[in-house]
């Protein structure tokens, strides 16, 4: 290995035997368990009427960007023979939106699709975090509002039950809530982005400083500072005292009908990083592990960008993280 091939840590960045950081080989014992989890999730999706689809790992980068400005974080690019830029997909939601608008251009909604597929994302830190991951997920197209969201959340909970988890919960919030509050209080547009960034990192100290700098009336100030700390059961939706919680209330009632009310945590500060979400957002937790197992939300404008205007929502689970949570639950007994 010549000097120029060395990475900063002093180890060879490439050698004849290395694999890129964030990727991994899976050997039979682990593979059997991952396969079992994936199969059970897939069976659950199929039974609920979500047909499995597969799309190319490589897409035209322009097409992914049409779905989301930053192509949802698709950062591994290559070129084809004609010089077109191809990118490894970073999720399955954008490709499925493309499939719906092109291959199901005239089909009567609702449409239900599931997938068990790999996706790739660059990592900021490069240590430990995977760049390649296996997602099991579902997309419900053409069912607006709480009805569609309740179906997706309920199936995700059931799929994790079948995969062997016992204590998982789903956090539910409204990704548009904070922004619409800021607008309704007359906060200038240019102040929104830094505040939403603080919110998405839950830098509540920074956010409080930004809110104080706006010089709002006390009630408005307290709401903007307090809202990201409101999380819990149904009672949270009454304590919020804001307009715009009707959707979450309806979602709660529908999930209660399905017997899942106690599996859901309402979290009024929840926002997801991806830019295509337009309303409710979801995150999946298990008390045995400190990371989220997956997430999703409502994306009513995404499919329209590919040419067919349909409301939709979906949720994806990281199969390897589900496996880690399952092992951690077992260890706790």
């Amino acid at each position: 290995v010549t000097e120029q091939h060395r990475s900063v840590a002093g180890k060879p960045a490439t050698s004849r035997t290395a694999i890129p950081p964030g990727t991994r080989d899976v050997l039979p014992e682990e593979m059997r368990e991952l396969r079992a989890i994936g199969d059970r999730m897939r069976a659950c999706f199929e039974r609920a009427g979500y047909g499995e689809v597969h799309t190319p790992a490589l897409e035209y980068e322009d097409v992914l960007r049409r779905g989301e400005e930053r192509a949802a974080g698709a950062r591994y690019r290559t070129f084809d023979e004609s010089g077109a830029v191809l990118a490894l997909r970073s999720d399955m939601t954008i490709p499925i939106a493309r499939v719906v608008a092109t291959r199901y251009a005239d089909a009567e909604p609702p449409l239900r699709f599931s997938y068990l597929a790999r996706a790739w994302r660059a990592t900021d830190r490069g240590v430990g975090e995977p760049r390649e991951f296996l997602q099991g997920g579902l997309e419900l197209i053409g069912v607006p509002g709480a009805e569609g969201e309740a179906e997706v959340v309920a199936i995700a909970i059931a799929a994790l039950d079948e995969a062997g988890l016992r204590r998982h919960r789903v956090g539910v919030g409204d990704g548009a809530l904070y922004r619409s509050l800021l607008s309704s209080f007359g906060v200038p547009e240019e102040a929104h982005v830094p505040m939403l960034e603080s919110l998405s990192r839950r830098d509540l100290v920074g956010l409080e400083g930004q809110v104080d700098a706006l010089g709002l009336a006390k009630a408005e100030r307290d709401l903007l500072v307090g809202l990201p700390q409101l999380r819990g059961g149904r009672e949270v939706l009454d304590r919020g005292e804001t307009a715009g919680l009707d959707g979450l209330r309806a979602l709660h009632d529908l999930l209660a009908d399905r017997g899942f009310a106690d599996r859901v945590i309402f979290d009024l500060g929840l926002v997801r990083e991806l830019g295509y979400y337009t309303g409710s957002v979801f995150e999946v937790y298990d008390p045995a592990v400190g990371f989220t197992l997956g997430g999703g939300g409502r994306y009513d404008e995404l499919i329209g960008r590919f040419g067919r205007d349909l409301p939709a929502c979906g949720l994806a689970l990281d199969v390897q993280r589900v496996h880690l949570a399952q092992a951690a639950e077992e260890a706790l007994g």
Partner: protein
């Protein structure tokens, strides 16, 4: 759900203030104070570690909440932890400092087009110089940063100072303020939801 919280406590400059704070919450810190070799105090849910490790344990969920300096959080800004509260103590400044003769940083930039900066905070330093439109070569050191400009390794340093005494004793002068750091309460994102009641009860008492 009513499992007790595990709290990551920083040893070092924030240790005393943090233990006083925990005493105020009714957590018995007697054993933590009396035993500086032991790291894990399971009875009271305390794990002790160096401040820069606190975000690591909290991000992973090995600790539900933790206390560390804003300086550490700035340097490790990609960690997925929630910053819940400014605890106010442990106040110090993140500064650019240089030998107290003229302006070595401006001189280096004018004559050489770049400045060399030693620091334990390479990310904060790089961002500060990039944001202010100056080219900087960042030299990461582990020990006493003040030594680096005295030996000619660098033109200036980015470091934390409380009283400015160490800087003055080494003939260094504060040139620029970057940020003010105080102790912060941070939480694991999943614990923040699943142990909301315990965390909120601590927050309420800390705010009171």
């Amino acid at each position: 759900m009513s499992d007790p919280l595990t709290i990551a406590v920083p040893r070092g400059a924030l240790f005393g203030g943090t233990l006083d704070l925990l005493d105020g919450l009714g957590i018995d810190t007697t054993e933590v104070r009396s035993n500086d070799r032991k790291l894990l105090f399971a009875d009271v849910g305390i794990v002790t570690m160096r401040p820069s490790d606190v975000p690591t344990y909290v991000e992973h969920g090995s600790a539900d909440i933790g206390i560390t300096g804003k300086d550490v959080l700035l340097e490790q800004s990609s960690r997925k932890v929630y910053e819940l509260l400014d605890l106010g103590y442990g106040r110090c400044e993140m500064v650019v400092a240089a030998p107290d003769r003229g302006d070595p940083i401006a001189d280096a930039l004018r004559r050489l087009g770049r400045v060399r900066i030693a620091t334990k905070y390479p990310r904060v330093a790089a961002e500060h110089f990039a944001e202010t439109g100056r080219q900087a070569e960042i030299v990461e050191v582990k020990g006493s940063v003040e030594l680096a400009p005295l030996t000619g390794l660098v033109d200036g340093i980015v470091d934390l100072t409380a009283s400015g005494k160490t800087l003055a004793e080494n003939n260094l002068r504060v040139m620029e303020q970057i940020a003010t750091s105080t102790a912060r309460l941070i939480a694991n994102p999943v614990a923040h939801k699943l142990k909301a009641e315990q965390i909120d009860s601590i927050l309420e008492r800390l705010r009171a």
